[in-house]
Chain length 206, copies 4
DNA sequence: AATGAATGAGGTTTCATTCAT
DNA sequence: GATGAATGAAACCTCATTCAT
């Protein structure tokens, strides 16, 4: 039952790691195959051997990144909580994940700018949907339990949550400059996470 | 007493317009000087005559974009409203501006990804600060009038407002795909704007 | 008998002066029409009006430079001296001229590097020949008077004189660096001139 | 125990050879990367691979040229001669070297015109100094042996030797035209070398 | 599987020259 | 005669990709 793990898997992983870093820092157009190979410590030719070309490498990086994200979101489901605590839990996990994975935030941003066409829709949905469903499920639970307002638009809540998390990290530079405060500092991040919990719960609650 | 209007100003404007489009669509690295010149209908050489090089052109485009933004924000101040209505007003103007200026949203996104270092901080602040101050002012007014909670963190409100507006438009592609709904449609946008008004006011109000 | 001197003569002179400086500093290929126009304080278009194109401008600069040189060499003839003093006189005047006209030295150097084909031979000769004839004349006078050796090759003397003067100034940079002494300093230049006098006269004299 | 001789060394040498020819013929500004690549029979891209850019290529050409020169000057030291014969020897070797290496003469000329700043002083000195020291050493030997005048300025002798050799070849075009004689013909060159020997020894000798 | 060298298309930039007023 | 704007050819340089070992 043992899976054969050829030596080249190491090379492939080194390339993926290096490529994630490069693409997330410079975007698809700014990224350089030379840099990726150099930082991975492998011969440039290997990239073409294993990934065919730059675009394909990019797609594979994206896929691996989405998978990592989906993995983290599985944490959501692991506990049995009151709806409002479940929501809080989601926000906190989400903020922690984004804080811990700046490459993820950035590469998704580039992807959005390039009109999000590198990943097939179906793949995207299969990755993201469970988390979205979970949130809607908790909101509905809250409604059923009479804790949350009945007329809340679930979609808006999902969008809000995504926006809050993502936007904080993607605009952190500009906002920090203008507000003269390092919004990337850990204490600012958790303060923000709590604020987001509060404003959402506050809105949801009767 | 005749005002001198050199012909080259027309060329300069054509270049700026074309460059905004190109940079906003492809980002700095993806943008092509050839395309910019072709779309502007001017000789490529003129870009170097008036803007020195690609990087400088990019900076000038950014500056002009910020200025346009600041201009739009001046609308905020034009009316005399109750605090909660002033906030609503800001959100609506902001959403309308972002909806009307997708290039603005995109180029700022690229800029954030490139660590927002193309515009000197001071310039950035002088453009953005008035709007921020206005929001804080209205929140404070609401507190003084006993309408808003006294312990609200003004900074968090500003950040929320920025995030809400920006993030909605920058992630519109991915979110539309996943939610299977065109979030860019006018009616969805105004629905969203109203939701953002509601959630903010709801949080602020005692 | 008054020669009409149109206003444009001023422009022409400004261009020639600026062009001499530029060509002598950067050579034909390194020189920029833009720089020449800017430093002359005239519109670029004027250069084409008066000189047709870059190459022609270069030729006219060269011609004017040769004429200036020939003019200076006319000083040689102005005195009545013993042959050895006449030779000394030539060396001193020559060194002084080269020292005072670094642009001349440089532009002739560029010209030599470009195979000296910008000036028609005949023109060159009509300018240079008188000085050469004068030197030969003085050497012959010395021979006749029994002061100089009879078997001296006049051509070699002329070449030596040219070489000594020219080479000193054209290699002044490299030699100064290596000898750790500023060979361009006035006192070094006159020391050199005297040395050249000495070595030549010494060779010529019986 | 096999010495690794990477294939690229051949390419590098072809580029250097072609570049020397091009730079020496046209100077830095007139030289074309395209020509260099074409004449070297290599892909243009290779020049950037191995030399980074035009300026750097130029510097490496210069360095290699200086080294070749220093190599040739090592011949000076190989014999045990009387001072006057040693000086003659130097002059002859020097003339032969310059005659055999017109590219060397030319490129150094361009270099002087560009103010000799492409090669670090220290490097220049370490290459040139031995020859200079050797000449001074022989002049001093002659003085000690009572053959040469005691008050001769060694520096002037070195400068003379350099000037004589260099200037003859750099002004060969102009002088040939004026004197109506091909000074580049082998017999003229050796006649000149002997003349230079004579005039120098004549000056040095008591 | 791995490597160093090579390639060619295409990108940015420069510059002599000309147009239009 | 003079000016500012425009032009296009060609220069330098970059980069994804492939060849040959």
């Amino acid at each position: 039952m043992k899976v054969r793990k050829p030596k080249s898997q190491i090379t492939i992983n080194k390339i993926l790691t290096s490529a994630l870093e490069e693409f997330s820092e410079k975007g698809f157009f700014g990224a350089r195959i030379d840099s990726i190979a150099a930082n991975a410590g492998v011969n440039k030719r290997m990239i073409y051997e294993h990934f065919e070309n730059k675009e394909n490498l990019y797609k594979e990086v994206l896929t691996s990144v989405y998978e990592k994200c989906a993995e983290s979101e599985r944490e959501f489901f692991s506990e049995d909580l009151r709806p409002q605590d479940a929501i809080r839990n989601v926000v906190r996990i989400y903020f922690k994940f984004l804080y811990d994975n700046p490459d993820f935030v950035r590469i998704l941003m580039w992807e959005n700018l390039n009109n999000a066409d590198s990943i097939p829709v179906q793949q995207l949905k299969s990755i993201k949907a469970p988390a979205f469903e979970y949130i809607k499920y908790q909101v509905n639970r809250g409604k059923e339990q009479g804790i949350f307002k009945a007329d809340v638009d679930n979609g808006q809540i999902v969008v809000s949550l995504m926006n809050f998390g993502f936007a904080y990290f993607t605009n952190i530079h500009t906002l920090s400059l203008i507000l003269e405060k390092d919004l990337g500092a850990p204490e600012e991040v958790s303060k923000r996470a709590e604020f987001v919990c509060d404003i959402l719960i506050n809105y949801l609650t009767k």
